[in-house]
Amino acid sequence: MKRIIISHEARQLFRSGAFRALLLLMAGAVAFAAWSGQRSIDRQAEGANAAAAFEDGRRARMREGTEQYQARVLAEGGEYQFASASHSPGAGPPQGTNPGVVGSTTAKYLTLPPTGLASFSIGQSDIQLSYVPVSMNPAMNITRDNELENPVNLMTGSFDIAFVVIFLLPIFILAISYDLLSSEKERGTLAMILAHPISLRELLASKIVARAGVLLAGILALGLAALLAVGASLDQTDTWVRFGLWMAATLLYALFWFALSVLVNVYGRNSAANGIALAGAWLALVVVAPTLVSLLATTLYPAPSRMELTTAARQAQTEAESAYMERLSEYYYDHLELVPEGDGSAMDFLTVAMANRNAVDKAVRPLHDEFQAQLNRQESLVQRFQFISPAIMMQLALNEISGTSADRYEHFLNQAYDFRAEWSEFFTVRFLQRSPLRPADYDQFPVFEHREEPFGAVMTRLLPSLLGMLALLATAIVVPLLRLRRYQVAAT
């Protein structure tokens, strides 16, 4: 019995020019979003490659210098020596032999590898660059280059598939279901249908199944096409698991909007009233609620400006310079076991600069930590308040699924901070020991290996959003079921 209505409704949908136009529009939007998301990911990859190539190139040239130097020492005899930091090229040992110079003037670029689905949801990755420089410089420099994007682009957000799903998909769904019952009632066919052995509930369910079936088949096809076109690592299970999660989240989100249409329709208003009510709901849930939550987060936990951070760093720098002798003893105090013999060599310019840098790092660390902590507090507030709107839940879920969530980024940054400590330590020790870098030492430099979080951690963060949407969907289904008995089929 239901099958008849489902196929009738599906046929009616495809006969409607508006629906065919909507389908085309959606396909176009997904294609554009896939392209735009991919472009954003490509740009980051290009940026990362260029930056890494530049810095690695400088290190390679330094290594070349040491190789020539080593050959010369072998040929002419003499000792392989440590170069003191100097800007004037001379006949002495090249700068590449000085670990302090290599460690502080070149940076190592670390990259957060994108997941296979990264281009589906850009998330915050346009603000939080997926590649960061690590050197002996203070830890705050790691995130200093973030927010490089044109602020206007940042304001409007990126047009990725997540945007299509969160903002446009509900509009498509409401457009084909806002008058689910009201149109039949207004056309007069509702009474004709219900004079047959069909219950109102069966009719509603069949109409929804027809629409949801057609739409979700479309979404699955478009999603698959997008994955094949712009997805990466298609040979990895991880990508397909993420795609499955993406589809599950989209299904939940789409069904919520269908349920909302039913909810509005069972109150028996006319199509125009239903349309206005649903447009209002879309505006409130998709536009207003996320804005309010974001506003709440930035008002309750305002992020200290980066300006403050920079000012504090400069202040520390000035202080350090004015009292450098003191700083220097403090620095050596930190590395007592490494104080070189004979004070004279310990006073050179680079040692002083590195001591200063150390002081600056110590001085700005609390501010920097507070800055990060404040961002975390904003993030956790959004996570707590996500349940007021399916759009927020969906955004968090999609970022999580695509591997562009704030938490994954933080996990990466923490590894970067750890690596910075390792990198600094490697060069500091050799520098203070005045141990010259030989070409072979270049192969011993610390290597960064990004450790992916366990999938369980991702699921733990994803689950509240999915369960929240499920609960919202259940509510939106139960209410119409209770209300349906009071539906007036005929005008009285």
Binding site: M1, I4, I5, H8, Q12, R15, R187, G188, T189, A191, M192, I193, L194, A195, H196, P197, I198, S199, Q488, V489, A490, T492
Partner: protein
């Protein structure tokens, strides 16, 4: 076939139907007459279970419509004042959809057969019904009832606004259905047609059945006289109803 027992319906505080008792047997065409708001449409809505009674029962072939809404609807056909169809489908497609909703299915030729039996021009069968006149749509409505093999028909002013020829054709169809043994309940304002095609006439006023006539025993003039008497003498009958209730 169609039976109402003490059927009562209130909308808000207003009693639209006050303890209606009536029976329509198979082979009967029972015509309900009465002013707008007398309760004719409410009676039909109750038989269709579009709305639930506050007291009393409506039953079709012995089945209570509120307890067995889907079973009773298999036996019923409904032709409203305007038979509304899917404008972008042809008559045949509309007929097939509604027949399938009623749990029946036929071959294309059989569907054409139903449509030709109700007198739809063969060339119109494959045209989209948005181009149809009201008379043509009412004929499709009857074809739907035929295809459903309904045992009882509920008609709500089906001939209002039809031209005399179309109205006459419609009455002929009703007589055919009657001869097949269907129980037909029709709300109408057309006293002449009620006398011509009906077997019995019920006159309603303010939610009550105030009179019942057999068309064989009265002339058209009688029907009109009795009807108008009831309408004019409303106060008197309302009092009588109140004292008997």
């Amino acid at each position: 076939m169609l039976q109402a027992v003490k059927l009562t319906k209130r909308y808000g505080g207003i009693e639209a139907l006050k303890g209606l008792d009536m029976t329509v047997e198979g082979g009967d065409i029972y015509c309900l007459l009465g002013a707008n708001g007398a309760g004719k449409t409410t009676t039909i809505s109750l038989f269709l279970n579009f709305t639930e009674p506050d007291a009393g029962t409506a039953s079709v072939c012995g089945l209570d419509v509120t307890r067995e809404p889907l079973e009773t609807k298999k036996l019923l056909a409904y032709i409203p004042e305007q038979v509304m169809l899917y404008g972008n489908l042809t008559a045949l497609e509309n007929l097939r959809y509604f027949a399938q909703l009623g749990g029946r299915d036929y071959s294309r030729e059989e569907y054409r057969g139903f449509l030709s039996r109700v007198g739809l021009q063969p060339e119109a069968v494959d045209r989209r019904v948005k181009t149809y006149s009201k008379g043509m749509r009412q004929k499709v409505g009857v074809a739907i009832a035929l295809a459903k093999q309904a045992r009882a028909l509920l008609l709500d002013e089906p001939t209002a606004g039809l031209d005399p020829k179309a109205s006459n054709e419609f009455s002929e169809l009703l007589l055919k259905l009657k001869s097949d043994g269907a129980a037909i309940l029709m709300a109408t304002h057309d006293l002449f047609r009620a006398r011509e095609t009906g077997t019995r006439i019920g006159i309603m006023r303010e939610g009550r059945l105030v009179d019942e006539l057999s068309t064989g025993e009265v002339t058209h003039a009688d029907v009109e006289k009795i009807y108008l008497q009831h309408m004019h003498a409303g106060g008197h009958y309302a009092q009588q109803g109140a004292s008997s209730a």
